[in-house]
Symmetry: C2
Subunit: 334 residues, 2 copies
Amino acid sequence: MKQAFSIIVAAGVALLAALSLGCALAQADPLPSWTDGTAKAAIVDFVARATTPGSADHVAPAERVAVFDNDGTLWAEKPVYFQFMFAIDRVRALAAQNPEWKVKQPFKAAIEGDVDTLAASGEKGLVELIMATHTGVTTEAFGETVADWIAAARHPRFERPYTELAYRPMLELLALLRANGFKTYIVSGGGIEFMRVWTDRVYGVPPEQVIGSSIVTRFDVENGKPVLVREDKIDFVDDKAGKPVGIHKFIGRRPIFAFGNSDGDLQMLQWTAAGDGPRFMGLVHHTDAEREWAYDRDSAVGRLDKALDEARAKGWTVIDMKRDWKRVFAFEPQ
Amino acid sequence: MKQAFSIIVAAGVALLAALSLGCALAQADPLPSWTDGTAKAAIVDFVARATTPGSADHVAPAERVAVFDNDGTLWAEKPVYFQFMFAIDRVRALAAQNPEWKVKQPFKAAIEGDVDTLAASGEKGLVELIMATHTGVTTEAFGETVADWIAAARHPRFERPYTELAYRPMLELLALLRANGFKTYIVSGGGIEFMRVWTDRVYGVPPEQVIGSSIVTRFDVENGKPVLVREDKIDFVDDKAGKPVGIHKFIGRRPIFAFGNSDGDLQMLQWTAAGDGPRFMGLVHHTDAEREWAYDRDSAVGRLDKALDEARAKGWTVIDMKRDWKRVFAFEPQ
């Protein structure tokens, strides 16, 4: 019986170890890059209420849908949207084949790296650059071009890959939600095929949970091989009032958790807020010029004006980046 | 020590019970409604190859994407697509408010239950009925109308709810794939908002895994409440060459497993077949007039002609309903 006794003791020790590990995990801070303020408390409280069986605010796992804007919410968006930087680099790479671009705006500005003129060309300029550089190729070839660029390109201020400009506190938040049975989606005005190449690796968000703006694709058979060709035509603009439309089209459920950072996210937040049961609406307010950038009502990129007023009026959670985030990027010294 | 010994014995018994239950589960036929023929063997073999670690054909779980057409593949589609029956019932329900319909085709035929004239009006007639009866309401109100209809309506031949005309062998196949880490999607020419109301309950396919044809929706605020309004405009036709486009748009991954039943599924099957690694392409061939229907090359609804030739030429799996399915519907006597 000595052996049996040893087995029981060993089992007991293992059980105690498992229990204490469980407690350690339960007690570990899931949001270490967030300061202990009201924003963090609101998130932790919401997740607890939505996931505690028997709670009046309990939400069935299938309905735990969380949506996040991308530019300015999950990664930075200055000096301009990173997809704009990609388009500029594509213009340069294709300039030799398109000599007319040297004297034609906004292509001229792109070739010369004149970001101010480009920014002034606004959404119209961006669309022109994207149409000229993102179309006429197969979806496969386009994906490869994005993958090459995202691996090689460097952000002008931080001189690091753009993907390192993902916000560490938001990566923690995504992980916390997923660990609690939430399905995390990106709902961005950016191009769906630009994002899907790298969102799984960077955010843990797989392609089928990325919603974005798109251009029309056409099924074709080239040399006996079926392909999808990207046409010179906009399919869907997933911004502003387009965001609830995109959510309904792709997910078919109303989110219970939504995070944005600009007026482009207002309707997504309103749509989320209007559902029954517990809701969380959050905004990232860029208040930290030293570690990141400070901007809101007067910014051409990521303008936050009406949504900020509505968030304050309705008690949505507004993250003050400077106050609420201990670290912004993973590469910052601790 | 007697107590300790008892605990060990009890643990041993529990372990043996768990192991034998495991074996019983492993040995149970996951496809009991399928006869033991080449079709069933091809499915079981494919699933084993794709999921066996170390197999040359092993596929990572995230890439185990399986797509299914709906009408004629997962449920019946005769005498006409069931959504057509829904549209007819909606025309009747709304006829009093639209007196002009009494003398205007295809509405007149719908009101009079003249299915032949309706079938002859083809896709154009269907679109007209759908536009007149599926739009101008909020997505929420439309979903409720579908839910009410699907609960109350009865199929003219079988006098049962339409959802009972789901094919039992295909329900088993969906369950087998999901048990093996596949994500099962519907990719249908039918309306996405018509299907999403009931696919989770009937097929175990949640709304976010349903891809279908859609009409444009518009975000609006009515009496302070955000709503999505269904507009009188087609957004996307998820049929024929539209199916690979829809798959790429919604999933962003190429399926490794695809099942259809008509020429409308040909491009989806070609797109699936053209990927690297193990592939499964299947067609349901309706050969059983007694238990269901028999039709292929000459049918207006669910025509199977070119896809049948291509399946035979390329060795895709063609299900002969009469031969390969022991039971078609769950309500059949065993």
